[in-house]
């Protein structure tokens, strides 16, 4: 990769690369253990319980102990499983989860053992796309787990997972576009650098909201946890998994949660940049302090995940798909359209912000009035259409309407079939439906 553009990246000594990779790995595992405990405690508080408080101070070691227990449990592999794929699936999930973190920045350039280096494993011109790509590989884990278990519920879970990832990845990718337009780059470190005066969450609020929604869909967390809906599919894709393999899915889910939170922080909340009142302090964005700001922002998102889980019921599957395809994706496209137009006006016609705002307001007003007029027209059309349909279905059934043999319209009844007449004769004292049928027969001249 071009070294000139990315200054410090790609120039680390080999031991620094290994050190960073190991530290990131360890940090992710520790964050996972912490998040499980944190989630259980927060959900408990929200449900008027206390939650795990026995193992270690305030129950902090509970998830570590649970992890040990999970790893040492007996492993059961179903007879009908496709063993090779069954083995690979959790490995794909967990590996992909760890890989995505390679491009997430935790802080600015610091000095580690006398070497100046950024607090980020690596970065390259398309690192946000890299995270998207790795996320889409990670989903293979879930889908293959569902398929290879050789069981019905996991298969349904895997199926849901494929449909979910296809629809939510589009909305997610589209929400990045506005950020790329503003940052002029797809590398994580440059995107953060572009948010120095003001975060993208403020200027690109719709993109931020769409990303936050689709990231919940992407991580299969409540209320979008359809692939593992325990009320419907037992455990979904991981129903047949036990012991360490199940633990790997568990780990992957929590790391994914941290990854999407970190990506949201990077793209919209200014990454490691200090939040407003703190940013007045001169050295807030230097040294090791930014790691703390980063961690707090990521925790904010994780708390949101937990809060959502404790609050919202699971969506029905068709509602969920409809929401993705008919709300999130069109809204994203419309928003990108607006952003692109605004950029062109600013860059090519050198509009000021004020001029842009007025032009935008005028355009929106025109659009609103236009759509209102169109709505009135289409409503009228719809009404006349419905009346026509109603008149048609009230008319007696004409089997050769328009010169072709046609089936009856809804509400019309096919006048005469020998079998129905026989059936009606055999039923003594018919119910309301058959009464209607006989009327229809009497009314129709053809019979």
């Amino acid at each position: 990769m071009s070294g000139s553009q990315f200054g410090f990246f790609g120039t680390d000594p080999w031991w620094m690369v290994i050190l960073k990779a190991v530290v990131i790995f360890g940090m992710l595992v520790v964050i996972t253990l912490f998040t499980i405990w944190w989630e259980r405690r927060v959900v408990s508080r929200m449900q008027n319980r206390i939650g795990p408080n026995r193992v270690g101070p305030a129950g902090l070691l509970q998830s570590l102990m649970d992890g040990f227990k999970l790893a040492f449990k007996e492993e059961i592999i179903p007879k009908s499983a496709h063993v090779a794929v069954y083995w690979i699936a959790p490995v794909i999930s967990a590996t992909a989860a760890f890989l995505a973190f390679a491009v997430i920045p935790f802080g600015p350039i610091v000095s580690i053992f006398g070497v100046e280096t950024p607090l980020q494993l690596t970065d390259f011109p398309v690192s946000v796309l890299y995270v998207l790509g790795i996320a889409s590989i990670g989903v293979y884990g879930l889908v293959l787990a569902g398929w290879s278990s050789g069981s019905t519920y996991p298969l349904l879970g895997g199926l849901r997972s494929t449909a979910q990832v296809i629809s939510y990845e589009i909305a997610m990718g589209l929400s990045f576009v506005a950020v790329f337009l503003f940052a002029g780059s797809m590398s994580t470190s440059q995107i953060i650098a572009q948010q120095e005066p003001i975060w993208f969450a403020v200027i690109l609020l719709p993109s931020f909201l769409i990303y936050v929604t689709s990231m919940v869909g992407e991580t299969n967390r409540a209320p979008f946890d359809l692939p593992e809906a325990e009320g419907e599919l037992v455990g979904g894709f991981h129903t047949e998994y036990s012991s360490l393999k199940f633990a790997m899915f568990f780990l992957a889910e929590y790391i994914n949660m941290v990854t999407v939170s970190a990506l949201a922080t990077t793209l919209f909340l200014g990454g490691w940049l200090a939040p407003w009142p703190l940013s007045l302090w001169d050295s807030a964005n230097t040294g090791w302090w930014p790691v703390l700001w980063w961690l707090l922002k990521v925790q904010l998102f994780i708390f949101m995940f937990i809060w959502l889980r404790a609050t919202l019921p699971r969506l029905r599957y068709d509602q969920f798909m409809k929401f993705g395809w008919k709300v999130l994706i069109p809204a994203s496209l419309g928003w990108i359209f607006i952003v692109a137009i605004a950029r062109v006006f600013r860059n090519d016609f050198s509009f000021t912000n004020q001029q842009l705002l007025f032009t935008g307001a005028a355009a929106i007003a025109v659009l609103l009035i236009g759509s209102w007029l169109l709505q009135i027209r289409s409503d009228r059309k719809q009404e006349s259409l419905e009346e026509e349909l109603e008149a048609e279905s009230n008319a007696p059934f004409d089997p050769m309407a328009g010169g072709h043999p046609v089936p009856p319209m809804p509400g019309q009844i096919f006048p005469y079939t020998p079998r129905r007449v026989l059936a009606e004769q055999s039923v003594a004292g018919g119910v309301s439906l058959s009464d209607k049928d006989t009327n229809a027969i009497e009314e129709t001249p053809n019979a």
Partner: protein, 257 residues
């Protein structure tokens, strides 16, 4: 030739690509084939990145591995996971023509790549990447200037194909769809039957076997609680009221003691 990083990457990923491609052709199960293609795609993407085309590599993973292969898997799972293709020729002479065209394509490719390798030295992408200040910028400049028409035409074609698929699968709705609300109102209408779950067998009964009908609060039996197959085999264990009263007597007798 010196051994550098790119060569190592090429040997590993190239080998895996060939294995994946062979596996895709040779495996019997459709899902295994799909997996092998995904492996080929990922390895190709790594090769692109190693050859200073990171954008192409990432888009390859997102579009082909993430979307296209995922759709494939989806369809495979819907159609039936264990269905394997029959090996009977349906079009006469298909195998012969297949081999013929396959060999022709191989010759063409070998010739093309051979001349490309011998006639021209390797230039690499570095100069092209530097021209507009980066790989992504370079691609953007080409797509939105020289290749704008081709790019837009491809987009229009894809949209048309998508629309065609939607129209082909579209069904006119004859009646308004029944909503969840209407369904649950209908559940509680008079004559709609039991609105909630039926009682479990063995509730308040002497026994919790599946063929023991639940006893309702007034002491009568609820035959609804016994599953239909058991009922139609006449296997339900109907408990005599006298037996129940005996039980009650026994329990009361115990209480008095």
């Amino acid at each position: 030739m010196t051994i550098d990083g790119e060569l190592v990457v090429f040997i590993i990923c190239g080998g895996l690509t060939v294995i994946g491609a062979l596996g895709m052709v040779l495996s019997r199960k459709a899902v295994h084939s799909a997996l092998f293609i995904a492996m080929v795609m990922i390895n190709l993407a790594i090769l692109y990145v190693a050859n200073s085309a990171p954008f192409l590599g990432m888009v390859q993973i997102i579009v082909y591995t993430g979307a296209v292969m995922m759709l494939f898997l989806f369809v495979l799972m819907v159609v039936g996971v264990d269905s394997s293709d029959s090996l009977i020729e349906t079009i006469r002479g298909q195998r012969l023509f297949g081999i013929l065209f396959g060999v022709a394509l191989a010759v063409l490719l070998a010739g093309g790549i051979g001349t490309a390798l011998t006639d021209k030295g390797d230039v690499g992408l570095d100069a092209a990447n530097q021209e507009f200040g980066g790989n992504v910028e370079g691609i953007a400049n080409l797509i939105f200037s020289d290749f704008l028409f081709a790019f837009q035409a491809t987009a229009a074609l894809l949209i048309t194909a998508g629309l065609g698929a939607v129209i082909l699968t579209h069904r006119e709705a004859w009646k308004p769809k029944v909503t969840q609300k209407e369904l649950s109102v209908a559940r509680f209408m008079v004559g709609a039957g039991h609105p909630g779950n039926k009682p479990n067998p063995g509730v308040y009964a002497r026994h919790n076997a599946v063929n023991t009908p639940a006893i309702l609060p007034d002491g009568s039996l609820s035959l609804d609680s016994v599953p239909e197959p058991v009922r139609s085999r006449d296997d339900s264990l109907i408990i005599d009221h006298r037996v129940v009263s005996t039980v009650v007597e026994l329990v009361e007798g115990e209480d008095q003691n």
